[in-house]
């Protein structure tokens, strides 16, 4: 799975990595139980501080997407808890995206098409 880091983005690097790993798990690019690189290896590979990657892994772990232990490092969780509800944070983000699309004159059907495409993974 390829991760793309934009050094000049407004989104912090730890969040960019987190978002792309989540998208990778959702699309199936990262399979359940798949081993993730160690904090040090990933930091060296991207050329960033180990603390940044550590922060990403901590966040992913607290959100229930990955599990970490001393022996096996980080792995994608086999059973990710499914609450079935959209979080308030995501609702706000979705509202912003929909609003921007409406202002830009994007048709609702176009948005639905994209949602379908992304949902399929």
């Amino acid at each position: 799975m390829i991760i793309r880091i934009d050094e000049y983005s407004d989104v912090p690097i730890y969040l960019q990595i987190r978002n792309q790993i989540v998208m990778g798990i959702s699309s199936g690019e990262l399979k359940a139980g798949e081993q993730l690189p160690t904090v040090r290896a990933l930091a060296l590979e991207i050329g960033i501080n180990t603390m940044t990657v550590s922060k990403t892994y901590q966040l992913l772990k607290s959100e229930g997407y990955i599990m970490t232990d001393r022996k096996n490092g980080a792995r994608v969780r086999k059973n990710i808890a499914q609450s079935g509800v959209i979080s308030e944070e995501n609702k706000t983000e979705l509202r912003r995206i929909v609003s921007e699309c409406r202002l830009a004159g994007v048709a609702k059907s176009e948005l639905n098409k994209l949602i379908d495409e992304f949902y399929k993974g």
Binding site: I3, R4, P37, A41, G47
Partner: protein, 364 residues
């Protein structure tokens, strides 16, 4: 300085110059992924920009060709000149003159960066990383590098023990005192450098060229394999040369034989590097069509396209843009120390050699 030493210098300088020219200034340079250390961009090939690019490339290729021809011609002439303190100094200067071939490269780099600014190509600062191949792509079989160098160490210890009289092989050594120690320690020094270099190249960052992880892994692995093979071959050549030299020194002590051996050793090293470079080029050509990602635009961090200075990059070693292999990030704390030491060593050795030649102490 006898004719053999001149020949050794000649076969060191000429292939180096030819290799540097071929690698740094290849044909159709304006169609390569890297042009004078600047990443190629589609905007370079539109309208007037294409003409400007071609002019920059052809001008600096011509300059490099002239410099290379002068250095080669000077080496040929020097081969036939009588040995004086002046010609000895000239040989030393000729060795350092090979560095001049990098000047057109640096100039080309500066001009291309200006062209980028003119065309409004801005720095994107995008890094790609392949999670699948992070830290798992290696090609170095460590025992294959450690084994010849361990033998080299063992032979060095034996040579020192023979020199100091702890081991007796022949009744009387036909060489000067400590000649075996000097010889073996100098080759051991090379052996000590090879192992960390081999590990460093094997642990270098994997280049992401495609959205397909298998392509990225294979590309990085094949490049690392070339380096691993070079280091293994160099280690064996080094060790075998040490063993052969020590036997020759202990039994015959023929200066001519040692010099011929040195010639063969250098020729083998040059051949190993030549084969490595050819393989590396093959890999680059093979994977050019698989490259489907617009790679990181970090041209501004490459001073003259040769020296990497990026304070926001925590890596110490990065892939070179002039030639093949790796170089250091000068902004890294360890990189700063290595750079300062290298400059001191380079300036010091030039100053020492010039001083020695002028005072008549340069007796090679």
């Amino acid at each position: 300085m006898n004719w053999l030493i001149k020949l050794v210098l000649f076969i060191c300088i000429v292939p180096t110059v030819v290799l540097v020219y071929l690698i740094g200034f290849p044909k159709n340079l304006n169609r390569k992924k890297m042009i004078f250390g600047v990443r190629d961009n589609s905007k370079f090939h539109e309208g007037d920009a294409e003409t400007k690019l071609e002019a920059i490339v052809s001008n600096h290729r011509r300059e490099a060709l002239i410099i290379s021809a002068i250095v080669i011609a000077a080496s040929v002439v020097m081969l036939f000149l009588p040995v004086t303190s002046v010609t000895e100094l000239l040989w030393v200067l000729l060795v350092f003159a090979t560095l001049l071939i990098a000047v057109p490269f640096g100039k080309g780099n500066t001009e291309l960066k200006s062209l980028k600014k003119e065309l409004g190509i801005t720095r994107k600062g995008v890094v790609y990383t392949d999670l699948t191949s992070t830290s798992v792509v290696h090609a170095l079989n460590l025992p294959w590098v450690v084994l010849p160098n361990a033998i080299c160490l063992l032979v060095t210890v034996v040579a020192v023990l023979i020199d100091f009289g702890f081991i007796k092989v022949v009744d009387e050594l036909p060489v000067e005192k400590y000649a075996l120690t000097t010889m073996s320690l100098s080759l051991q020094f090379v052996a000590i450098i090879i192992i960390p270099l081999a590990i460093m190249m094997d642990n270098a960052r994997n280049t992401v060229i495609s959205k397909d992880s298998n392509i990225n892994a294979n590309y990085s692995r094949s490049k690392k394999k070339v380096w691993a093979d070079i280091f293994v071959a160099m280690s064996w050549a080094n060790t075998l040369f040490l063993i052969a030299s020590l036997i020759a020194l202990m039994l015959v002590n023929s200066e001519t034989m040692i010099m011929v051996g040195t010639l063969v050793y250098i020729a083998i090293i040059m051949l190993v590097i030549g084969i490595g470079v050819a393989n590396y080029k093959k890999i680059e050509t093979r994977y050019e069509r698989d490259t489907d990602l617009e790679l990181l635009d970090d041209d501004d961090y490459w001073i003259l396209g040769m020296f990497y200075y990026n304070p926001s990059d925590t890596r110490l070693n990065v892939e070179k843009r002039f030639g093949y292999g790796g170089t250091i990030n000068i902004a890294h704390p360890a990189g700063m120390v290595i750079t300062v030491l290298s400059i001191i060593l380079l300036v010091g050795s030039i100053a020492f050699l010039i001083w020695s030649a002028f005072t008549g102490n340069l007796n090679v």
